[in-house]
Amino acid sequence: MSPAVTRDDLIDFVHAEARMLDEGRFSDWLDLWTADGVYWMPLEWNQQDAIHETSLLHEDQFMLRLRVERLNGARTFSQKPKSRCLHVLNRPDCDLIDNDAGRYTVVTRMTYVETRLDDQFLLAVTATHDLVHQDGALKIARKRVDILNCDAAFGNIQLLP
């Protein structure tokens, strides 16, 4: 990648990330993150405080690694058989391209489908990626996933939108 990140680079990155999750390449997916990267899925619409209120998910690299190793684990009974997911992406909006600072924000609307056994559910999702240019590659510093019906009662959501 050239030092100047383009709109296409950002769009390609978001698509590649979704494809890794869809194909179950979770360990590769972990390599996309900065060391202090955080994945946040708010519980409430327009939630601002991730720390002092409940979220659906707010995980650092230790927790994400745990999540991935659990998904790959031999005694993970809720993943026998394994879930599958599919991200159907809209064209990502590149809201911020700041090559001087090496910071980028990409907002992507998508439908997320997850299935296991006879059950399948669909979520309407807005993913906001805060990306940084680090050691010649784009990395995820923060990913915020807003679920349209975040206040609804869900069954298990086992994979990652």
């Binding site: 002092h52 209120e53 979220s55 707010h58 745990l66 609804a152 009662a153 069954g155």
Partner: protein, 449 residues
């Protein structure tokens, strides 16, 4: 074949060491639970910090019964069935709001005071000489049978007559007291919305699981066991503080011996808790400044006594569990024989440092969210059991662990933490409150059929 509504029929389903699978899978029995069990017992409605001002309301359900909890003009919290006495329309549909001095039905504009009394009907003269005054509708919105606000926690008994609040909960209120006393101001506040997690299983599986200390090291090996393995692989020097996530999740992998020594206490009427002597919450790191605040509020001896308790899960039969040390309440709302909505609420300790509510929020999302790895472990087991219990190959579910002949569940007791006594205690209370107003047996003619 409908289940006879008699003491004899109910008693046939509950034996001291085992219970019939119909308790989990029969929708007919679920309807009887709504009519009897959930009506005769005291059910948690909500916390009064959700309705701080007059006219504030909160809509929820007591089992499948829609209700409104509302702060009336006299500042008391009332609980009304959420049903217009006219055509049945739900009066309030949003989860929270302020209705001012009265509710107004959005269908025909009948209005009601916030204690439920009928206030006005448009074109009222159309009801002259119709017998309206004698009708059910003239009473307005129906209040539940009784309401009790215990230090902010609002409970309701749907049946107009029945056991009083204090007799029902007796010594078990010490767990609620301990959770509330952890605030230097002696006060809790609900924080944010609850996690809402739909379980395709019977409510009893969830309630039993709260004091089931033989499942964590098995069902949660995939989450807690993996966490421990990752932490060990990082090979940090001795004494490195564990990340907060490890502090919360690792104790789930404690060995059987830990849970045996943790202890279990039961109280009459189906209440009980794990973690009498210590618990998985015992080793949380101290939050700077908090102990000093507690000493200032209560004196050192009392502060140490309050914080020395590490009660794990306290079940308030039938449908809630609280965790005092982590200020959390889980409400298992039974919707059908095979459907339970679990709401997990957190509280702020008024006047305590923010770090405490941060830990509470972390615990909630890590353990109780539909996205939680630990939650996935549990729900998988419940749903497999709900499907497995359809099997006609065996009729009974076993709860015999550490059963002793002559067990007296109407007395408080403390014993080994892996005992299933609390589960037996719940079924004992189930039978008591299911049958409180049932006849011993059906009419003679019915028996003869």
């Amino acid at each position: 074949m409908p289940i006879p509504e008699t003491r004899a029929a109910m008693s046939a389903l509950v034996q001291p060491q085992q219970v019939h699978r119909d308790l989990y899978i029969s929708q007919d029995l679920f309807k009887l639970e709504v009519k009897h069990l959930f009506s005769n017992t005291w059910i948690y409605v909500g916390h009064d910090s959700q309705v701080p001002n007059k006219g504030d309301y909160y809509t929820t359900q007591l089992a499948d019964q829609p209700v409104i909890m509302v702060r009336h003009t006299d500042n008391e919290v009332h609980v009304l069935y959420n049903r217009c006495p006219h055509k049945g329309t739900k009066i309030a549909i949003d989860r929270t709001g302020n209705t001012g001095k009265f509710f107004r039905c959005p269908y025909h504009a009948w209005s009601f005071k916030t204690d439920g009394c009928l206030l006005a009907i448009p074109l009222k003269k159309g009801y002259q000489d119709t017998g309206f005054d004698q009708s059910e509708a003239a009473h307005g919105m129906t209040p539940v049978g009784a309401v009790h606000n215990y230090r902010g926690f609002v409970f309701a008994r749907m049946a107009p007559e029945g056991i009083g609040f204090d007799d029902y909960f007796n010594g078990s209120l010490s767990s609620l007291d301990n959770m509330i006393d952890r605030s230097p101001a002696g006060k809790l506040q609900v924080v944010g919305a609850p996690l809402r997690y739909m379980h395709k299983c019977n409510w009893k599986m969830l309630v039993e699981n709260q004091t089931d200390t033989c499942h964590p090291m098995v069902a949660h090996e995939s989450s807690a066991g993996t966490a421990v393995k990752i932490w060990d692989s990082l090979d940090k020097p001795e004494g490195t503080p564990k990340p907060p996530a490890m502090e919360i999740i690792a104790p789930f992998m404690s060995p059987y011996e830990f849970f045996e020594n943790m202890g279990l206490r039961t109280w009459p009427n189906g209440h009980g808790h794990t973690g009498v002597h210590k618990s998985i919450h015992s080793e949380y790191s101290e939050i700077p400044g908090y102990f000093d605040q507690m000493v200032e509020a209560y004196g050192e001896e009392r502060a140490r006594a309050i914080l020395g308790e590490a009660r794990h899960n306290t079940v308030y039969f039938p449908t809630i569990m609280i965790k005092g040390p982590i200020q959390q309440l889980r409400n298992f709302i039974p919707l059908a024989a095979d459907r339970t909505l679990v709401e997990s609420w957190i509280f702020r300790l008024v006047d305590a440092p923010d770090e405490l509510v941060a830990r509470t929020a972390m615990y909630n999302r890590m353990i109780n969210a539909p996205t939680s790895m630990v939650g996935h472990d549990d729900l998988e087991m419940y749903e497999r059991a709900q499907e497995g219990l359809q099997s006609q190959g065996a009729d009974w579910v076993n709860v015999a662990r550490l059963y002793e002949d002559g067990e007296t569940l109407d007395e408080e007791a403390v014993l080994n933490g892996t005992s299933e006594r609390q589960m037996r205690n719940q079924f004992h209370a189930w039978l008591k409150f299911m049958t409180a107003t049932m006849p011993d047996s059906g009419p003679a003619s019915e028996d003869a059929q």
